[in-house]
Amino acid sequence: MPEIVMKDIAKYFGKVKAADGIDLHIKSGEYVAVLGPSGCGKTTLVKILSGIWEPTRGDCFIDGKKVTGIPTFERDLGYIFQNIALFPHMTVWQNANYAPIVKDLEPEEGQRITQENLQLVNMLKRKGFKPFEISGGEMQKVGIARALCSGSKLLILDEPLSALDARVRLDLRYEIKRLVKRKGLTAIHVTHDQEEAMSTSDRIVLMRAGKIVEVDTPENLYNHPKNLFTANFIGEANFIEASVLKCSDGKCTAEARNRQYLEFLNPHEKFKPGDGIVIMVRPENLSISHKEKKHSLEGRILNKIFMGSFMRYRIKLATDDFVLVEVPEADDKTFNIGDKVNVKFRPNKLLIYPQPRGGLTEVLSLE
């Protein structure tokens, strides 16, 4: 099973630095998602790994072997494309059977592999169809089977679900994950969809502007992001700017706008009075009530959105910050638009970051 190492990979297009000094180690059998906004260089990375583009600088190693300069067709990998790219003049079967043929396998062996993989994605029933005769989701399933038929243990998924309907996307991403794990492949999955990245991968590489921002498991990135951009990009988040007022016993009090105060935990004495900070909290970790005052800020409900099993409130706080609060639908009955409520900030649910240079908006910007 392949292990992948990238050392100081850079790719420049004129002045644009699509990738700029990327170091990455992917373990054998790991499912890694490369996540980031449009133009962050995530696709560049896999194109370099697969040999479609040559890096400006740096080297890739597959199983310890340096692959720089080796043409794509000799790199032994499976590639799944955003626009699917099934060969339009071939049937489903011919598409899947392409790799066994060009790799000069025995015809019986090639047919066995093709049959097996089409069966795996449940597309054997469509084997005589041309790509334009089947739906988008089915096409991508065939795309997956085609890549699997190459027999490679390394699978590159380049935005495999972006072209599909939202609902189809949900079903297919589980299917992909199941397949990869069952076949014991190493997978690199490029996406701009944070939910897709979290639900499929063992580890997420978050990128921005050609650089890696953070690499960690989905849980860690969601629950303990080391970085404000990560916090905002992976799931929705509320941010409140404040400054530290006083600290004692591993706890601090912060002053937000309009003389509003919040308490947070400061176990390693990381923050000192006078520090500028940003408080981050996920919408589901806030709660609202009419009465409770402790650890709470006052606010007014601006909007109420039905989200299925929960309700989401948009609230303007006394600090003039806007926050989202998510409440299970069952608890919902009593709050309406225009209500004055107390929003509770449990100290153990708050994450604190030093005030970023260049301003909060700049750091959070998604584009």
């Binding site: 067709f73 590639y79 626009n83 060969f87 790799a99 060009v102 038929c149 190459s150």
Partner: protein, 678 residues
Amino acid sequence: MLKKEQKEESIGKKFSALIAKKSTIKFWYGIVITFFIVLVIVPTLFVLTYAVTGWDDMGENIFTAPEPITPDNYHQIDIGNSTIGASFPAPDIIDVTNSTHWGLNVHTNSNIYINYTIYSLDDDNASHTHYYSNSSFSGAGIGWINISANESYNEITHIGPMFQNLTLAYADGTYIDSWESDVFLRAGDAKPFDMVIDALKVSFIIAIIVTIIDFIAGLPMAWLLVRKDFRGKKYIDTLIDMPLAVPTAALGFSTALFWAVTPGVDAFGSLNLTSSPFLLIILLHIVFSYPYMVRSLSAILHEIDTNYEVAAQTLGAPPLTVARTITLPLFRAGLVTGIILCFARSLSETGGTMMALAMLTPHMAELAYPMQTGPSLIGGWKHAGGFDPQLAFTAMLLVIITLILLVIIKIIIMKFKMPLRKVFPGPERLLSKGVFPKLKDASSMIFMFFILIIPSFFIFSFVFTSEATPVDWSPFWSAMGFSFLVAGVVTILNLIFGVPLAIYIVRGKNKIMSHILDVLVNVPLIVPTSALGISLGMFWGSMNLGWTTLLVISAHLAFTFPLVVRNVAGALEELDPTYEETARTLGARPFFVFRKVMFPSIKFSILAGAIMAFTRSLGETGATLSVAEEANTVPVYIVGLVRAGSEYYYSAALACIALIAISFLTMMIMKYIARRAE
């Protein structure tokens, strides 16, 4: 002040409301479509009516040989398995301006060499040496030396030419026989039908060979230009188009000089490789058709999503396998376009072919050329005059066969299946690596330079190295004036009617009508221009208008019209209709949408189409010659100079260069505009 503005605004509003009305739009489209059908399509295909109306005519003039040969007007010399015969009507003085074909009929199986002198008698019965020549016939075949009426006889009207001192010898100079007589000679006994078939055979065989070579040499070049990045690519890209800027008449001159043995003239660097007209014409046709092939192929290569190729490579297919199994099968539409364009261009070309043939055998009348193509035969007959039935028949056959053949080509290519299943991984893998791709790229480059660029511009070597002769520029300028007049009027008409027609074809609500028009627009593009000229001449001639200039304009209109429509329609197809739709929902009326949204996006294509039409009109020979032989456009003037003999080559070359310069200038403007558009 304000009031006036408001008033103008309201008039503008009323006007735009009026032209936005559905009925008004329909009316305009009606006019445009009628224009296209009546002025372009019907005249282009009018010659087909000859199949019905000309039936009796054909029996008399096409399928039967001219007058029987009788002993007292026929002199025959036996030379083994060959005969040379001179057949002639009663010795009489004949008006040359009316009966214009005179000839020495030759049947031969071996190479022979004929020397002859022709005298003319003036009113006082004084003889003037008028024409002296020698010709060789190689191999088996029928041909005849043909003396035609042309301007040079004007001073001695009512007097016919005659042959004297006719000497025959083998090609090596061995004497055979000779005879002297005061006789008038008449064109030979070959059936015009046989001549037509021979010429068309040659035309189609050449077109097929040229197209195949274009494809084989053009594919790697297109690949190189689209899929590879290398330094100097921009220049190669421009070089490819260069031959298109050279009018074919000049190309014929230049190419013949470079490759062939051209009696009476030589230039520094001339290869003098061949005397075969067949080979020379193929070399010539490649020069001007190759750019079309490369352009068509690269256009479609651009469109093919590289992801298909990348996908195949990630599956382990080496580049050569990818090209064969993925790219080529996806390529068909472009292949059809490229092949049809090359085929039609080769089939249609007249000026360059006539130039090259004339230079191989100077001083020989066209009809006596050892080899004819369809268009050159039309040119010869037209030039000789009095061959209307033959012309109509040839043009008709050319149109019919062209249309049928192109349909067949299209069907074959669309049905043809690449051997997908059978792959040869070993050799293909080997050929995809190392020195082979480089070898392929290098040979494409070499092909381009030696077959295309050098022959195209060899004319400069001639001008710089040969002795200057005095040049009379005044006929050149008058021809230039006429050419510009024609090209200008044609371009303007093309714009007025071509742009709306393109819009109708692409955006029209009536899909069936759009589709029919779309197919019809291509017809003048593939019908050989000389046949088109004959057809047009017949159509307008049947109305007896007799205006040469209008005739020439309408002929040029017919074959340039598709260029404008194609260009604009192509740009419109690329333009996402949601722009226009969005504009409509934002409150813009159709004309406003055209002016503000559609026009800015397609204006460069309109301009490109206009310039293409202009240069094509400027460089066209075949249509002009066949519609009105007396029309004096620049290419016709140049062809005339070359036909007049090698002493006029220098003038012809200078005229060519002047024409090249003008075409070049327009092409550079076009390139500049295209770059700005990007």
